[in-house]
Symmetry: C2
Subunit: 115 residues, 2 copies
Amino acid sequence: MQVGADNIEASRVNGTRVYNTDGDNLGHIYDVVIGKRDGRVKYAIMSFGGFLGIGEDYHPIPWDVLKYDERQGGYVVGITIDQLKNAPRYASDTSPDWVDPAYGKRIDDYYGVSY
Amino acid sequence: MQVGADNIEASRVNGTRVYNTDGDNLGHIYDVVIGKRDGRVKYAIMSFGGFLGIGEDYHPIPWDVLKYDERQGGYVVGITIDQLKNAPRYASDTSPDWVDPAYGKRIDDYYGVSY
């Protein structure tokens, strides 16, 4: 199995900074969503604190869209600001209906990934 | 992809109760360890608060050893108390060296799983 520096407690992923490919600090990871049975990390929930002028909204982003960059010590997302502006998001005082398959599909479709 | 009730925020996994196959409540999940790059949940860190008479130690257990039981609303581990007593664990005020591949291998070997 893969062990070593690759592994980290999920609680320590939370708070990790997120950059775009230009090196701008967009925000940080607020939480991750995992599959209880298949043990896969499905989404990172990202908090873009005001950067987009949208307050404390959370963006769920497919895990596969994130690349960990050892040098920056954070994740890099290869998506544009415009993509983020129109992406699925929810207010920090609410919680999405993860039980609704259509919600997950909407996220995956938006970012063009499938599992 | 799998969506729906299967998905949950990692922060909400923490605190989920853990039972053995006899239905005894052993403790709860303290955290999960994920692979930063491969996006797999590797270990659940379990807190057996005093149940084994060993104080607040944490046991990292391979994720695949846990089965989620919808009826009980918690995880069931198919391991005996004796297995747990001798299993790798660490004091709650310390942190294992996840960077050391031998540590992960020791856990996997103990529970007889491989990735």
